[in-house]
């Protein structure tokens, strides 16, 4: 984990170089389609990180042990997932302004992604609002299981309904040129490794906070409160 950070920085620089300079312009959208690389990177990270959150929630609900440690990761993945979803919406809206002429349309994929944002914002608010630790762990895990319903819907939305949003992964293979694929792959790995690092950092911080709280209570106990 320590050395991860030294991999991420060059990977990001390489990804930026590939996406912004190396890959040639596209025919109809010109230079503007270069938003695609960062958009795709954060969008895929968002869906993957939220899927990890779902797996953690499953473990918390159906397995007994190590709930506290798992819960730190549940919090961390939800936060990073929400961050990535926000980034997806932000970059997507700017691209939409160029490609479709409006910041927002009620396209199925945009709509389901907006709902996704609200669901995980609600998840984090729910966590904040429950004081009792045991209750917070189980309640948020149960809510995490329910909100995950939207993640496969976001992924499939462009395939199920007629959408103006472009599809990259189709049954007949990738919908992009090999050069674009390489650049996207770099961006994707840069984003996902960065997400892992952030999640680890945030989970470590949670553990630290818990340790602090325990220590405080012990001190207060020693002083006779």
């Amino acid at each position: 984990m320590r050395y991860l950070r030294w991999v991420i920085l060059p990977l990001w620089l390489a990804a930026l170089y590939l996406a912004l300079i190396w890959v040639p312009d596209e025919r109809s959208l010109g230079v503007s389609y270069r938003i695609f690389y960062i958009h795709m990177g954060v969008a895929m990270s968002a869906l993957i990180v939220l899927t990890v959150n779902f797996v953690i929630s499953l473990l918390i609900v159906f397995m007994r042990g190590r709930r506290e440690q798992l819960d730190h990761y549940a919090q961390a993945t939800a936060e990073v997932g929400l961050l990535m979803t926000t980034a997806t919406l932000a970059s997507g809206m700017l691209w939409a302004k160029v490609a479709w002429g409006a910041y927002w349309t009620w396209d199925p994929r945009l709509t389901t992604t907006a709902i996704l944002w609200f669901l995980y914002a609600g998840y984090l608010l729910l966590r904040e609002a429950i004081d009792q630790p045991q209750k917070r762990i189980v309640y948020s895990a149960v809510y995490g299981l329910i909100v995950f319903i939207d993640v496969p819907i976001v992924y499939e939305s462009v395939r199920w309904w007629s959408s103006i949003h472009p599809v990259v992964f189709t049954e007949s293979g990738m919908n992009i040129t090999p050069q674009m694929f390489i650049a996207v792959l770099f961006f994707f790995f840069a984003m996902i490794l960065f997400s892992i690092d952030l999640i680890a950092l945030r989970a470590k911080q949670q553990a630290l906070r818990e340790k602090l709280e325990r220590l405080r209570e012990k001190r207060l106990g020693d002083l006779g409160y």
Binding site: V31, I38, A90, W95, V98, L212
Partner: protein, 52 residues
């Protein structure tokens, strides 16, 4: 303004928007971790004084 330049602006905005979001998140996490570490060391320091 030429279309090409306008496109370039949007690319710039999109990349900086994402990096700004990430930057804000990371600094927030770092700040909070530092504060926690400070509080922790302060608390441990107190304890040592008392036991002495």
């Amino acid at each position: 303004m030429s279309v090409e330049k306008q496109f370039l602006e949007y690319v710039f905005f999109a990349y900086s928007a994402v990096f700004l979001l990430i930057f804000l998140f990371v600094t927030n996490v770092w700040r909070r971790t530092r504060r926690l570490e400070q509080q922790l060391s302060a608390l441990e320091g107190d304890g040592e004084k008392e036991t002495r």
